[in-house]
Each structure stands twice: as C-alpha cells, then as structure tokens.
Symmetry: C2
Amino acid sequence: MATRGRPRRAEADAEILQAALAMLRAGGYRELSLDEVARRAGTAKSSIYRRWSSKAALAAEIVRREVPAPEGDDLVQAFDALLNGSMGGVVASLIGEAQESAETRAIVLDLLAPYRHAGDDLLGGILFRRLLSQ
Amino acid sequence: MATRGRPRRAEADAEILQAALAMLRAGGYRELSLDEVARRAGTAKSSIYRRWSSKAALAAEIVRREVPAPEGDDLVQAFDALLNGSMGGVVASLIGEAQESAETRAIVLDLLAPYRHAGDDLLGGILFRRLLSQ
C-alpha cells in the first residue's frame, strides 16, 4: 500500500497530540510551541489549526485526555487532583492566560465546567493555593 | 529657581505613577506599556526601572495606592472589594502572569499577604469567581 508523505488526518491528529503532550510534560504551557509541535508531528501548522483554534485549545484537549472528567460525587477531590496533578501547571497557566484572552477564558470555563457543580466556594481554596503557592 | 529638563526623582516617580494609573484605568494591565509610561511622564525608561523592577511591580504599587491594605477584621469583604473594584482586573492579570513568572508570583504574594489571614478557603471562592466569570 502506498504511503503519502504526510499522515492522514487521524494519524496527524494523534501525532500532534503526542508531540504537544511531550512538550507540556517537559516544559509546561509556556514552552509549548505550535511551530515545534508541527515540526515534531511532521505536519503543517495549518493541520493543527484545522482542528484546534489555538495553543490553549490544544492544551485543554490534552488536559481532558490526561485527566478524564470526574464521574463520582467528590468533585472537590477531583478538582484538587486536577490542579495538583501532572496537568495542574497547565491548568494554572490556562487560567492565567484567561485573564487576558476571552477565547482562552471560554476554553477554561468549558474545561472546568464538570467540576463547578461542587460550588465555587468549595473549589476556590484549592484554586487559591494552587495559583498562589510559593 | 532654575528648572532642569527632567523633573527630579520624586517628581519623576509621581509622574510615572500618574501616567501608569491612567493607562491601567483606560486599558487594563495588558495595555500598560513602560515605554508609553516613560513617554507620558517625560522621563527615561531607566527612571522607571530605577525604582520598579518590572511592569508587574509598578502595577502592584498602583494597586496598593488605590486600594489601601485592609485595617478592619473583615478581610473577606476587603478581598472581595479588591478583586471586584476598579483594580480588580489588574489584580486578576497579575495573578495570571504569576503562573508564568516567579518574579510576578512573589509580587502578587506580597500584594495579597494582608488578606491571607482570612484563610485561603474563605478567599478562594471570591478568587474563583473573579478569575472565571464569563
């Protein structure tokens, strides 16, 4: 079977996600670069934008894949695990970027929606400590 | 009395603070530019850095001047007033920047220190809503 120079769409998406995850793990959100993701995935940058509107949108999808939405009742515990787990720094950075970008704010609201039934006051202490820990 | 082309240090600082406050009021933290502050204040940019280490440090001083540290017992109310008052957007932006900058994080921790005796859980709900409101 002939192969083309660039992988098909589903394969390209998987490569993009894998490359972006590796970059997030190595250097956090600040070091995530869509140019570098495209290079590592062997795709054009336009292939990223075909599916994700921004670096924030791509990072949020990775957070969702790494930390599945909570299913049980303990949303406070789940939120704590989200913010203090391996993707906690990425979530904190997205919340930070949301202060300057309405698009990122919408992405973050969507990402955190499953947790908000716990109530903002209950989640707030966790957020406060995560964002302002030394 | 002879005047010099540039105001003396105390005068220059006052001009810098005035120009930066006007910019924060007009366009928020994102629009604050030290180049533009220097231009409006009629000073060199080095005059800003002589006293403030960064844009964040200058903005934090303005927040302190606009919103004096709480004196009474109701720190939760004071924190709510800080985050939802005229400087609330600036504080939110500083917290956002703190996710990517250790220096800004130290500035924010210092700025919020007077409120933290209220307890992170009590302040957290206010922070959560301020950072993640639509």
